[in-house]
């Protein structure tokens, strides 16, 4: 069975992609067929993923590759391949499982949309591309799927294409991530140049194996940083994070998919996949490239958490929380906690999908309203959504013991604490934990507690097709902890390729108390600050946020996303647009002006020669006979056998003809 699944790994991305093509060929009315095809494709992917997962359990550090020649150019072969190892297998299961929940949820959520069929085609394509990405055993193949993931997100963010804001958001996402991708592309070229192969694992000669790494030497730092540019774009790291909150313009299931299972996970996954490039030549696991990763991650995590506090759009808060959590994962990877970072990515996949789908359920119930200040009191009207959402919120905040997010977050903090270079990231991450608990508490108070307000008066619970995925994801968010706890750190050991040991005593660690205190502080602070916000009556829907009341300037700064968009608009975008205008102007006036100037000079010259000709000929008729002999002498001189002379004569003749033409024409 082992070899069977390895040779058929390609089916995992291929089947959802094929489903996508099949759905695209359906007519707009065949809604049921579309949904069924998409779900079947995804179920197949999930089943195959589980089959692929099984052999990786049998031995520690399981790794199997399936390489093949894509094409030969000249006499060189370009090889691609698929790889199955714990990292890929764990990602596969998470992506296909979360994806499946989102697919089912979408059947209910998108029921009224006129482009229902197209939506499922895009979803399947998105899922297929992401599954291919995690299976790639070649940086080139990874890049190919990486771009396809980008395309799918472009199509889905701009799905409601008749909305200008959706189209703008899609364009922004495409271009911003492509900026990072260009760095990735360059890094890939550099790696290809140095190591001569883009295969990760190839029986000892892959670029991530010792022989391949040995060829890199000092360039590894630059290659790693260039590749990291791509990860920054996809995973929404500062300064390329600006597209991610705008991606909320897509339908909510898309946001769930982008923020949980696909797209943003790709960047973190990429860094984990090519980790040997980052850690090459490090002392105590510290290299300059990893240091950059840490600081980018810290900046992103804190900045996004701060911005999230001042947002009013339910999805935007979650979007910034994703940015913040991704920063946390990057920090974890940077300080050497690769397994911890990936664990958090997996756990985050479940609870973030849960939160987004929950917010979708809320929006669905509130007739499309996004503003949390207009909601309220939904805990009674939408009990299932409330309970599942609360689970997601506590998992995200990191409430200890019962929720998956807490264990993985503690793992990351533990890794960060021991980073040799500086302790600052550790303390900043602790602050991040408080902020996360604070903004999630604020959100849940506004949405679910207090009295009903404008948008939530007539709210109703969502249909079962939407609540079932919520329940499934909530169960995952809780029970995923089983493999995460320090008592039995199975996933950690699995990802690191070690055997896991069971030891209840390890359950109680100092980090648990640190975490308990910080999360408690965040939630307590939130309840204290927003206690009145939830209680306000419905006449005052657009009330002033308590924080805005206390610190209007700071709040405005945060609510406007630190004016980073405006800053980019004034600098980068203005500059590029000016460059475009300048290029156009240069073409129209400078280069073309040169050409026309040249033409004008030619015309003047032609007129001169003509007048000389006229006079010369008219005046010269009489002298022609006398001149013949002299001309003969001249001609014999001209037959000098010197090529230069011939050429010069030819050139003059040609030029004269040409100028004559220009003058006549």
């Amino acid at each position: 069975m082992n070899s069977g699944i390895i040779t058929n790994l390609w089916l995992i991305p291929a089947v959802p992609c094929a489903a996508s093509l099949a759905i695209l060929s359906l007519s707009n009315a065949r809604r049921k067929s579309a949904a069924v095809l998409a779900v079947i494709g995804q179920v197949f992917a999930l089943g195959m993923s589980i089959f692929a997962f099984l052999p990786t359990l049998q031995t520690n550090s399981f790794r199997a590759v399936q390489n093949f020649t894509w094409f030969t150019f000249g006499d060189q072969a370009l090889r691609l391949g698929f790889v199955l190892d714990p990292l890929a297998a764990a990602m596969l299961v998470m992506i296909s499982l979360v994806g499946l929940c989102i697919f089912i949820f979408s059947i209910g959520y998108m029921a009224g949309d006129k482009n229902f069929v197209r939506f499922f085609a895009y979803l399947s394509f998105f899922s297929g591309a992401m599954l291919g990405l995690v299976l790639a055993n070649s940086l080139l193949l990874l890049f190919i799927f990486w771009e396809l993931v980008g395309l799918a997100s472009y199509l889905l963010i701009g799905f409601w294409i008749e909305r200008p804001s959706a189209a703008a958001a899609a364009k922004k996402a495409f271009i911003t991530t492509r900026i990072g991708d260009m760095g990735f592309f360059l890094g890939m070229l550099w790696l290809y140049k140095r190591s001569g192969t883009l295969l990760f694992y190839d029986g000892g000669s892959g670029c991530l194996e010792s022989a391949g790494l040995a060829t890199l030497r000092a360039s590894a730092t630059f290659i790693a940083l260039l590749i990291f540019c791509g990860a920054m774009g996809k995973s929404g790291q500062f300064p390329l994070h600006v597209w991610l909150p705008d991606a909320m313009e897509g339908p909510t299931p898309v946001s769930a998919l982008i923020h949980a299972a696909t797209m943003v996970a790709a960047g973190v996954f990429l860094v984990a996949r090519v980790y040997p490039l980052f850690s090459l030549g490090g002392i105590n696991g510290v290299t300059s490239s990893l240091t950059v990763v840490v600081w980018i991650g810290v900046t992103t995590a804190l900045m996004a958490a701060l911005i999230a506090i001042a947002q009013a759009d339910i999805k935007r808060i979650l979007a910034y929380s994703t940015v913040s959590q991704l920063g946390l994962m990057m920090v974890s990877l940077g300080v050497g906690g690769v397994a911890a970072g990936i664990m958090h990515l997996l756990a985050h996949g479940f609870f973030k999908a849960l939160l987004f789908l929950g917010s979708g359920s809320v929006i669905h119930g509130c007739q499309g309203e996004h503003d949390i200040r207009k909601m309220g009191g939904l805990r009674r009207l939408m009990p299932v959504t409330f309970v599942t959402y609360a689970v997601g919120m506590m998992a995200l905040s990191g409430v200890p013991f019962f929720f998956s997010g807490a264990w993985t977050k503690e793992e990351i903090l533990r890794a960060t604490e021991h980073w040799p270079r500086s302790h600052a990231p550790y303390f900043l991450m602790l602050a991040g934990v408080v902020l996360t608990a604070l903004y999630m508490t604020r959100q849940i108070i506004y949405v679910f507690f207090g009295n009903s307000r404008v948008a939530s008066e007539r709210a109703h619970e969502s249909p079962r097709v939407m609540t079932m995925p919520l329940i499934a994801l909530a169960v995952c968010a809780i029970f995923f902890s089983v493999v995460l706890t320090p008592a039995w750190p199975w996933l950690h050991a699995y990802l690191r390729g070690e055997p896991a040991q069971f030891d209840v005593a390890r359950l109680i660690q100092p980090m648990v108390f640190v975490s308990l205190v910080l999360v408690g502080a965040g939630i307590g602070l939130g309840i204290w600050v927003y206690r009145k916000a939830g209680a306000q009556d419905r006449q005052r829907s657009a009330e002033i946020d308590p924080l805005e009341y206390a610190q209007p300037a700071l709040f405005r700064f945060l609510a406007n996303k630190m004016w980073i968009d405006e800053l980019y608009g004034r600098t980068v975008i203005t500059f590029s647009w000016a460059a475009a205008r300048l290029s156009d102007w240069m073409d129209r006036y400078f280069w073309d002006g040169l050409v026309r100037g040249f033409g004008a000079v030619g015309r003047v010259f032609a007129m001169l020669t003509t007048s000389v000709d006229e006079h010369g000929i008219n005046a010269g008729v009489d002298e022609t006979t006398a001149g013949t002999r002299g001309l003969g002498r001249l001609m014999s001189k001209a037959h000098s056998g010197q090529i230069q002379t011939y050429l010069a004569a030819l050139a003059v003749g040609m030029l004269a003809l040409l100028l004559l033409y220009a003058w006549l024409g």
């Binding site: 000249g74 006499d75 294409i161 290029s583 090529i643 050429l647 030029l655």
Partner: protein, 491 residues
């Protein structure tokens, strides 16, 4: 199979004659029938082509004017075959784009014949004859059947390309007087040790270079192109961008690089600067265009800039490129030649469709098309994504290989050239936003979606793009041996 190439060259000429004689209404079917025949010959050529043999195949050699070393010498290697196939593809595609007046069918057929000749001739005189023979039909097509500003565009086109041709002819006369041969293979063999000496060599180099650079066109010899493509009718724009520009690139591969290796090595960095300028400034200018046709024209300059980057990086590098890099750069250039041919022609085709429906082709004249014409938008997006180099479509293969090859030998230039990839994406993302998204514009509310006939044209071409993007081996088989052969020649 002797005579196959001659047949391919002369069938369109006969077709032109037939179109001229027969009544007006038969012009298009006749032109298409003639193309079916020549395409069948081209396919026969492909079928009987021995992909493993290096050197010329199907050679036909006859004395022509022995006194000046002119021979009728035609033959194909992988590169020539690729371009013959491309010609057989693009011209019928252009005929299907829009109904044209009878005269223009005949003129395009003459041009097609000249193109076949250019891509197969192996003797300079013959080659130059065909090369010039393509210039005049192009001039007439713009001048007589063009749109707005056609006089200016045609004159500019003619002056530019004619000046370039004169410069090239003079250079070759110089070479002939010194070496006594016009045969490409012989000249290429002599090129290593220098065909000419001293300043004369530089003059000859400059002449050939300018002639070809105008044709490609390479920055800063490109300003005729936006005007010409903009003024030309849709079908003609498709042929101009799909095929005429390839004559320039072909000339670089066949003539300039083998004949003047020493000169190129000296001025190499400057040539690379020009290529990078093409790559970076052209899409920037495209961004600032309002006219869709002009926008696509500028992007053409950018895409041909990638070809130039690959060739110059290979020929100009101070270190001899390793086998893998040389093969990557050359294969990439060849792929790019073909890919740009079909993709750019398809883009012009779509602009033509929009113009037919709307009467205008400014980027702001449309809006919300996705609601009205989803099929048109979908297939047009495929062409745009192909053009911006999305993996899975044809454009990516060529660009990746070019960048791979040139990065290894000319790293900094290649790194700057990456900006071009980014700006191209911006240009297309902006165009898609303006055309497809937002509320449906009033003026577009009666648009028909892709008609059946249009679908029959566009679907096969797009499927070819996907085929090349996903499983490109069948394309590489055409020219792999030629690549190996040329890489050895340039090394």
């Amino acid at each position: 199979m002797v005579g196959l190439i001659t047949a391919i060259i002369f069938i369109p000429l006969l077709g032109a004659l037939a179109v001229w004689i027969w009544p007006q209404k038969n012009a298009r079917p006749l032109a298409l029938i003639c193309n079916v025949i020549s395409a069948a010959c081209a396919l026969a050529l492909w079928r009987n082509f021995d992909a493993t043999a290096s050197g010329l195949q199907f050679v036909e050699r006859h004395d022509w004017i022995p006194a000046i070393g002119a021979e009728y010498l035609v033959g194909v290697d992988g590169l020539s075959l690729l371009l013959v196939l491309l010609t057989s593809l693009i011209v019928p595609f252009a005929f299907l784009a829009q109904p044209m007046p009878r005269g223009s069918y005949a003129t395009v057929l003459v041009m097609q014949s000249a193109l076949y000749g250019t891509f197969t001739a192996q003797n300079f005189i013959l080659w130059f004859l065909f090369y010039e023979m393509s210039l005049i039909p192009a001039f007439l097509l713009i001048k007589i059947w063009g749109g707005e500003n056609r006089d200016r565009a045609a004159t500019k086109f003619f002056l530019y390309t004619f000046l370039g041709s004169v410069a090239m002819l003079l250079s070759f006369l110089g070479i002939y007087l010194a070496r006594g041969t016009f045969d490409f293979a012989t000249l290429a063999g002599l090129g290593k040790n220098g065909l000419l000496t001293g300043n004369l060599a530089w003059l000859a180099f400059a002449g050939v270079f300018v002639g070809l650079a105008v044709k490609v066109p390479l920055f800063p010899f490109h300003t005729w192109l936006p005007d010409a493509y903009q003024a030309a009718p849709t079908g003609v724009s498709m042929v101009l961008t799909g095929l005429l520009s390839k004559m320039g690139v072909y000339g670089f591969v066949r003539l300039l690089l083998p004949l003047f290796p020493n000169q190129i090595r000296v001025v190499g960095p400057w040539l690379l600067v020009l290529a990078v300028c093409s790559i970076v400034f052209a899409p920037l200018a495209a961004w600032a265009q309002r006219d869709l046709k002009r926008m696509v024209a500028y992007l053409s300059i950018n895409h041909l800039g990638y070809c130039m980057l690959g060739l110059f990086a290979l020929a100009a590098s101070p270190v001899v490129a390793a086998g893998v890099d040389a093969h990557a750069a050359l294969s990439g250039v060849f792929m790019q030649i073909f890919n740009h041919g079909i993709t750019a022609a398809t883009l012009f085709y779509f602009v033509g469709l929009l113009e037919q429906r709307r009467g205008l082709r400014g980027i702001d004249d449309f809006g919300g098309l996705m609601q009205r014409t989803p099929l048109l938008c979908g297939w047009m997006s495929a062409a745009m994504f192909s053009s911006l180099g999305l993996p899975g479509l044809n454009g990516f293969i060529g660009e990746f290989l070019i960048f791979k090859g040139s990065f290894a030998v000319a790293g900094p230039f290649t790194a700057i050239a990456i900006i071009g990839l980014l700006v191209t994406a911006i240009v297309f993302a902006r165009a898609m936003q303006a055309l497809f998204s937002g509320p449906l514009a009033q003026s577009c509310s009666a648009f028909p979606d892709l008609l059946r006939t249009e679908r029959l044209v566009i679907v096969p071409v797009t499927l070819l793009m996907f085929a090349i993007g996903i499983a490109p081996q069948f394309m590489f088989n055409i020219f792999n041996t030629t690549v190996v052969h040329m890489a050895r020649l340039f090394a």
